[in-house]
Subunit: 331 residues, 2 copies
């Protein structure tokens, strides 16, 4: 028996998410039955996609049901197992949700190697955000050496990997981030050739200067005004990978004002969800792990302490209050 | 010496093209010099892209210079040649422009076989419009059997080929056209499974009914309100080939109101210009000629008589006054 604590969705946000949309529930988890495994979660991943699940608008995934544990990626340690694939002491990554313990039949649970890689990296550069970066950059943008790739939320869990992979591919990488501290990190630590602060009053001019000969690929995580400015800097045959539009999740929609740009510049825009491409995950994680082991991949985390901090941490994530991957440490 | 007549661009349209933007010029064409060839044009092709060239807004191609012969595709007969590749009596397709005779060094001029195919078809289904249809459908939409493809300007020079190729690929084809006569032709002659009249007051409902289980591919020639309605009917992973936006060339721009559809439905939108893909032309024309020879490809023409009719014919084309390929017969 395990004393569990979990956070459920109590009500759907009308406009912006508030702490009152969540509710903490305590209960007990029985010892595992045949085939089952219980995981003590060490870290919970907070990711922008969760905002979509909290609404009941039609989307690619079913909405998060009210009264049930919030969906979320987790890493942790197996503490009890009646499943031959797992033994106590194994470290695993899975979709355990916003709770201290997860119980499952082992499907969707994968063992990870923590000898050289910190456990929580499997929620970041070697997990869903890393694969998202890899897939969108390599299959939609497919940058050629010498091309210029723009990455919004450039220092976030996804964007930071995109920028580094673009540089490894021989492209110029330009970041867009919120505030000078993130921009300095982008250029000095992540290797971006330039980074433009979207909070700057001179954003449009600074983006134009940073873009140089124009932009060939956009990895879009944010939307809003910076996206509209980026459209003005596109070169012919530019590719835009639409990964997220966090500025619109609780703000005005991001339009594309004039479809004619598709003709004039022969632009491609493609949205994607990494979970549609599960077959690519092993290769992507293999490559990312190789880069990490060779010291070619850097990342940064914002770690909040304790399950109770998750609602506010999530709200902060939606408004740029994270620096790198947003995690909740639960042990 | 040939007595030539040609139409030059006299002024740029402020808003809508008017006959006064064009001017007829008469001059003489000398006998060909070494390497040169003179072609008597039989047909001039009128195409929507010409509207873009008449403006000096930045676009993929340089604007049509004022005072020079309007650009345009032509088919005709070689009447004098000092070029070993061509002999009098050869039929050729090229970009001869809005004039009775064309003189060139032979570059961009291609001989055509008129034994089984009418000469002017090389300006239509076996020419630029046909290749445009082939390229956009096969490389951007790439319909799978059983999928549904929507084609706007469904009976036009490009759209009519798209619909027939989509059917040959095993897809359902839905057309959008202006007026009941074009819609009847679309379903009864071109083989569309359904056709919706964009002039209908009940267009949105009729499109919804025609779309059935939703739309997997859109071949967009028009833009405007029908495009916005089509967005509402898209299935996940739909592909939109943006070939033209004729409704916006002299009307309001076509926006994409909310980029979020790219995420929610994982949509791809890609604009293209067939002249970027010259390497695909021989294969495309080969396949189209095969379909034509086997009786699998139908088309229709609107033929205006005489070079002087070209300006008004072009204006009519921009407003749907054509039925199928718009041609000017010049002999």
């Amino acid at each position: 028996m395990f004393r569990n604590r979990k956070i459920v969705l109590d009500s759907r946000p009308i406009d912006k998410v508030s702490p009152g949309n969540f509710r903490l529930v305590e209960d007990t988890l029985p010892a595992p039955g045949p085939g089952q495994v219980v995981v003590r979660h060490h870290y919970l991943s907070l990711d922008p996609y969760m905002r979509g699940r909290m609404s009941d608008a039609k989307s690619y995934a079913a909405p998060q049901p009210l009264g049930e544990t919030m969906i979320g990626g987790t890493v942790g340690e197996v503490v009890a197992s009646e499943n031959p694939r797992f033994a106590p002491g194994d470290f695993v990554v899975g979709m355990g949700g916003w709770q201290l313990y997860g119980s499952s039949d082992g499907r969707g649970l994968n063992k990870v190697d923590v000898k050289a890689i910190p456990l929580q990296a499997y929620l970041g550069p070697l997990g869903m955000p890393g694969v998202t970066a890899w897939w969108g950059l390599n299959t939609i943008i497919a940058p050629k050496a010498g091309e210029t790739v723009l990455v919004t939320a450039a220092t976030g869990a996804v964007g930071s990997v995109v920028g580094q992979l673009a540089k490894l591919a021989g492209a110029r990488a330009i970041g867009v981030a919120g505030g000078p501290e993130k921009c300095i990190y982008a250029t000095e630590e992540l290797g971006y050739d330039a980074c433009v602060d979207h909070k700057s009053a001179r954003f449009a001019e600074e983006l134009k200067a940073a873009a140089g000969k124009g932009i060939d690929g956009v990895f879009e995580n944010v939307g809003g005004e910076p996206f509209l400015q980026a459209l003005r800097r596109l070169n012919d045959f530019a590719r835009i990978a639409v990964c997220g539009l966090i500025a619109s999740y609780e703000g005005p929609t991001t339009p594309l004002p004039d479809m004619r740009i598709f003709l004039v510049r022969r632009i491609k825009v493609e949205g994607f969800i990494v979970s549609d491409h599960l077959d690519a995950w092993p290769r992507a994680i293999g490559e990312l792990a190789g880069h990490a082991a060779a010291g070619r991949l850097r990342w940064r985390e914002t770690v909040r302490q304790g399950l109770d901090s998750a609602p506010q941490a999530f709200i902060d994530l939606l408004h740029g209050g994270n620096f790198g991957k947003m995690l909740v440490k639960m042990i």
